[in-house]
Symmetry: C2
Subunit: 299 residues, 2 copies
């Protein structure tokens, strides 16, 4: 009997820094994924846009050259890893879909190497040094789940984590775990004054998705200071990747500044137990949520 | 210039125990409301069903006698307080609407004494010792806001706090503060093993509503051990009432076991600033949230 037949499986997050060399980043990510597999991870998730430094700090049309197709270099490399190590992997990719159509995507590859599908980031930010609306067309495949050999999972990406609606819809489709590949950090000038509250907001909102939906949440962030534009201040990526259980209890959390592998066990009995004792899904007022699909409700 | 003309106003929560005597409870609540007003509170919120002990620990048709009409004893008393002290108050009432039609409601009374409206608890729990589905018909007035003389506020009630949809809809209607009159506690046998995680889930989910929506959240819970059914274990109400800012930062939090007044300042400039820097409302994918009005999305 495999672990998953027992209603249990082990998930792993990689918290990594990205260098300016896209091939080095790929090699390192493959090598760390193999290491996580050897430590027992059955589903491994990488940080958002793992293949490059966070290029969205400026708007530059040459940077679309960083995009790759699906299937492409990343998926081919990780399909082999998934086959060799019998693990599922979530690979965030700067996706070139067509000339002029790019997405911030995540590919789910099943154990054995089959591509199960793509999620395309639905909520696209645009803030100073996070100019994502320039690079990424909003996702058009909605909120999804993927039936891996070990369990049914959902993936969302970074800015999605601030939206209860994305978590809810993915959970309603049966996800047992919500993965959030992420690239979030501090503006150096804000870190001292606002840094603690910002990071705590980020942890709180994601733990709340676990609580509201009775699912595990696993968030993989990058680390490192990246300053690609000399006249800008750069971003200090805050790491702190974590996995929490369906009650929001943090099972494992990484440092702010080291490359790490985080592991935790998903237990379907625990999901059942938590949802049975805190039956939030039972009491939803689905007759009364219509206004949610409005921008604002002027009164 | 009043404080509210300045975009600032002070809110106050009462954390109280309830005795078996409904008239004593009313008297005490009025007296504490006046005390809060003297300390500077301009909008005061009481705990859920403040007028009695938490009768939902058993199903007993005689207990419907505890219900009162709106207007009725509670509203008349607090309309006077609101007039005398020029404050707004949120009064949770076990509402008798008609023979056989009862609600778990909250009345918003404006400074001066006018009743602005009623909110009726939308999400009704039913768990061992919280038999609310027996007593309360689900609310039928939806998620609302109330324009008090000081600011535009929303109120939800207890179990509603586990639902991001209720918070979202109230915020989309322009609420600056979400109030949550509450009666939540531990089963004595669970407290040692699960108590910490349960209370932390409760705080986390409510702070997340502040973060997701850029609003203040103010949650008023009761305290005390109530054991109305000799053969049951009773409930230890965990207090811990709190107020947090639009980034989820806890501004003020009460003890687990003392009657207290909590005060905090609401600042509209702070809401503007947080929403401008974390523009979550801008990027909502209102084209893609339709499934939220479904019970579950079978795949």
């Amino acid at each position: 009997m495999t672990k998953s037949e027992n209603g249990k499986y082990t998930i792993g997050l990689l918290q990594l820094a990205s260098s300016p060399d896209v091939n080095d980043n790929l090699k390192k990510a493959v090598s760390w994924t193999e290491k996580a597999a050897k430590e027992g991870a059955q589903i491994v998730c990488l940080p958002e846009l793992y293949r490059s430094q966070y290029f969205c700090q400026k708007e530059d049309s040459k940077l679309f050259d960083l995009a790759e197709t699906i299937p492409g270099t990343s998926t081919e490399a990780f399909q082999k890893t998934a086959e060799d190590f019998n693990i599922s992997v979530i690979i965030p990719v700067f996706e070139k879909r067509a000339a002029g159509v790019y997405h911030n995507s995540a590919v789910v590859i099943d154990a054995g190497g089959e591509i199960l599908g793509i999620y395309r980031k639905m909520h696209i930010p645009d803030d100073p040094a996070y100019y994502e609306k320039y690079y990424f067309a909003p996702g058009d495949v909605g909120f999804r789940t993927f039936k891996t050999r070990f369990g049914k999972i959902g993936t969302l990406i970074c800015w999605d984590q601030w939206y209860p609606e994305g978590a809810r819809l993915t959970a309603l489709r049966g996800a047992e775990v919500l993965f959030y590949p992420t690239a979030i950090g501090w503006h150096p000038k804000e870190k001292e004054r606002y840094g603690k509250a910002q990071k705590e907001s980020w942890i709180t909102i994601q733990r709340s998705h676990a609580v509201a939906n009775g699912v595990y949440v696993a968030s993989a962030n990058r680390i490192g200071f990246e300053k690609p534009v000399p006249e800008q201040d750069g971003i200090i990526f805050w790491g702190s990747s974590f996995i929490c259980d369906p009650q929001g209890v943090v099972l494992s959390q990484a440092s702010e500044d080291k490359e790490e592998i985080l592991l935790a066990e998903v237990n379907l009995d625990h999901i059942e137990n938590i949802r049975r004792n805190w039956p939030f899904l039972r009491d939803r007022r689905i007759d009364a949520y219509d206004g949610i699909a409005k921008r604002f409700l002027d009164e």
